[in-house]
Symmetry: C2
Subunit: 136 residues, 2 copies
DNA sequence: TTACATGCAAACTGTTTGCAAATAT
DNA sequence: ATATTTGCAAACAGTTTGCATGTAA
């Protein structure tokens, strides 16, 4: 949550995105309440009906635009679908492989030691840590 | 490399898989030389021509069978395709996002501290660490 | 001779795209 | 007035599957 009480319209403007009805509806769904982990399909299910329905194509277009603008991040945990995360800070994830549910790991205090040198000519773009869990 | 000099035929038998020509050809490609990281498409490109060609469907079927049998592991780094790894030990990866090439991280000495408690009812299935790099 | 493997083509899933109509600036 | 966005339907990529033929046990 980069700004605590920014309006949905302002968030879009600041990201250089026109505040259309669909984007405002999606922004509302995404950036109200706690951080969210979801797929395009899940989001579409929630916004395809109602006063201001949003089509699947627009959901995809908008998720890409939001991600390009830095409002969202993608998380690669399943090679069949893309997960999105409203938390754009560096952090790690639990992935419940039974329920297919992602959740944040509280990163405070995590330390990784003993990592080897990078391949020459390479810069770290980001580090992903996913703890995959199953019900016991 | 679980057994140093096991024959391809024996490897299949021990995994409970019939040693067909196609599987032997794939086993040869996979388990000769150093550990490999690859996609189904890349493997198919290399085995679709030659004396004993292997079809794309069989490549997919066989990769699934080998993975189920524990001869291969999948690596989730890209939500568009599945990567396979002949190294089935617990270890981590570099992913070159420019070249789309996976490589192993030497895990010896890596330590992660400060991880939070698991969600209740959950067991760790595995921990994935991917260091994503870009050319500098 | 019976169960399993192969391979083609068709099906399927998640995602992207072309384009005409609608909307924001 | 102009550029951008929407949303349908069609296209697309990677993967899976149905089924007839072939092969291993």
């Amino acid at each position: 949550m980069p700004y605590l009480n920014i309006s949905h319209k302002d968030r879009l403007s600041q990201a250089g995105l026109r505040p259309t009805k669909q984007r405002l509806r999606l922004s509302e769904w995404l950036f109200t309440g706690e951080d969210k982990h979801f797929t395009a399909e899940q989001l579409h299910r929630d916004v395809k009906d109602g006063t201001e329905p949003v089509s699947l194509a627009t959901v995809y277009n908008t998720l890409s635009a939001f991600t390009r603008a830095g409002l969202l991040k993608t998380v690669t945990v399943d090679s069949n679908r893309v997960y999105y995360d409203t938390n754009t800070d560096a952090h790690y994830h639990f992935y419940d492989e039974d329920g297919l549910v992602l959740s944040d790991i509280d990163s405070r205090g995590i330390e990784i030691t003993g990592l080897p040198d990078l391949p020459v000519g390479a810069d770290v773009e980001r580090i992903d840590i996913i703890i995959r869990t199953r019900k016991n």
